[in-house]
């Protein structure tokens, strides 16, 4: 059989009837018992006119507080499955944006994961965006502003210095543990997206 990947197509405007029903969306990436520093991550998605994107879906994938992925499928070289002593761990989140283009995940700050060249990556979350007007998902990453590990992160090194800030979540400044991450699809502050 043909082994060229099937083309992607947009999720369109009606995915809510299945993908983000109350049962199927995942606000809490890390269950209440998961170890680590608890964070509430508020994401906001803006289009090329600076308007909120109210009909997008955001998916998150991240390591646990010790930098371990609880992965599906075959164990990849170097992949570390979750240890049994971290109940409630999930690593995956999925939410629809609201009228303000926003959604808020509850999780823990991930640990450092091995990267290319044996260098540890800084704490980060993988992000995939799906929406009407996106023929395929867009991939970006969320890092934590002012984390000292960011300086040596091998992926951030690939990004021009003046654009690295677009990959940072910033502390809310009012609510402890709350972080804000704005995603600009276009414009001066256009977020860095990755070709994966």
């Amino acid at each position: 059989m043909d082994t060229v990947p099937t083309p992607s197509q947009t999720v369109g405007p009606f995915f809510h009837v299945n993908l983000t029903t109350v049962e199927n969306c995942v606000r809490c990436i890390a269950g209440p018992q998961a170890k680590g520093e608890r964070v509430w991550l508020s994401c906001r998605l803006l289009d090329g006119a600076g308007e909120a994107v109210p009909d997008a879906m955001i998916e998150i994938w991240q390591a646990d507080a010790e930098g371990r992925y609880y992965a599906a499928g075959a164990v990849h070289d170097g992949a570390v499955l979750k240890s049994e002593d971290d109940p409630g761990w999930r690593g995956f989140g999925r939410l629809a944006t609201d009228q303000d283009g926003s959604c808020e995940f509850e999780t823990i700050r991930p640990g450092r994961v091995p990267g290319p060249g044996g260098v540890l990556q800084a704490p980060h979350l993988e992000v995939a965006l799906f929406a009407r007007g996106m023929l395929k998902q867009l991939f970006t990453r969320i890092y934590f502003a002012a984390d000292p590990a960011n300086r040596e992160d091998p992926v951030l090194q690939l990004v021009p210095e003046d654009r690295r800030e677009t990959l940072m979540a910033f502390p809310d400044g009012v609510l402890a543990g709350k972080w804000l991450f704005d995603i600009h699809l276009q414009g001066e502050e256009e977020t860095v997206f990755f070709e994966v």
Binding site: M1, D2, T3, V4, P5, T6, P7, S8, Q9, T10, V11, G12, P13, F14, F15, H16, V17, N18, E23, N24, D47, G48, E51, A63, Y69, Y70, A71, A72, G73, A74, H76, D77, G78, A79, R90, F92, R94, V113, P114, G115, P116, G117, E126, A128, F130, G133, M134, L135, K136, L138, P154, V155, L158, V159, L185, Q186, F193, F194, E195, V196
Partner: protein, 241 residues
């Protein structure tokens, strides 16, 4: 023997599809892409553990009749009953086992059970249009549903989407995840649909069209359509020793 491509941290690199085989980010005939497509070049990312691992999701939540969209209400929905089946494989031809497939679709009149779809076609109280299933050990799946109708949209004057079923598939890696649409053979709307036409290669577009299948068609009950899905897999190049 096989030589697999790894980066220096020992992470398998996933294959990258030819540009013509996937839609571009910006495709102006599909108007909503204009304000929703990044304009700066994407940054090439060598795959790390973060990209090649992926979630275990939905396995425990799939109900016994979630794959049968005709049995989710007190009576049967109106429309042409169909069986949609196929396999999920990776680009090395290996079955993708035990992975979640989620589908959603319009009813036989072309209307979604969604508040934002207000076009004047009837809702069907016996049809929600949402289904879930897991692939088996051969990567095979099967849904029972009704054939969706085409529906109008506002992209351009007299715009109609060809009949389709949305498919969302996970696979093993966060980057193998695929959301696509399954179309039906011979749809007269293909030529006028910018979403279908956004895929540059003619051959690649054909991969989104299911085929009628007499073998899975059940006498006196339902017609069968086959739809195989290929996800990106790890790169593996033959290597002579």
């Amino acid at each position: 023997m096989d030589r697999t491509t790894k980066n220096s941290a020992g992470v398998l690199q996933y294959m990258r599809p030819d540009p013509g085989s996937q839609p571009p980010i910006l495709y102006e005939p599909y108007r909503a892409t204009v304000l929703r497509s990044p304009r700066k070049p994407l940054i090439f990312l060598p795959h790390t553990l973060s990209e090649v691992t992926g979630p275990v999701y939905g396995q425990d939540a799939v109900g016994e009749s979630d794959h049968d969209l005709t049995r989710q209400h007190s009576a049967e929905p109106l429309g042409e009953r169909i069986i949609v089946s196929g396999r999920v494989l990776d680009s090395n031809g290996r079955p993708v086992r035990n992975t979640l497939i989620e589908i959603w679709q319009a009813n036989a009149a072309g209307r979604y059970a969604h508040v934002n779809d207000q076009h004047p076609a009837p809702l069907d109280p016996n049809f929600t249009g949402a289904g879930r299933t897991l692939t088996d050990e051969h990567g095979a799946y099967r849904f029972i549903t009704i054939k969706p109708g085409p529906y109008p949209w506002l992209n351009h004057y007299n715009a109609w989407r060809p009949a389709h079923i949305h498919f969302s598939v996970f696979g093993a890696a966060f980057i193998s995840r695929l959301v696509t649409q399954m179309y039906f053979p011979g749809d007269p709307l293909f030529a006028f649909d910018p979403i279908f036409q956004s895929v540059p290669d003619e051959k690649a577009r054909q991969r989104m069209i299911s085929r009628f299948d007499l073998e899975t068609t059940q006498p006196q009950w339902a017609t069968g359509y086959k739809f195989d899905i290929v996800l990106r897999g790890p790169e593996a190049t033959p290597f002579e020793t």
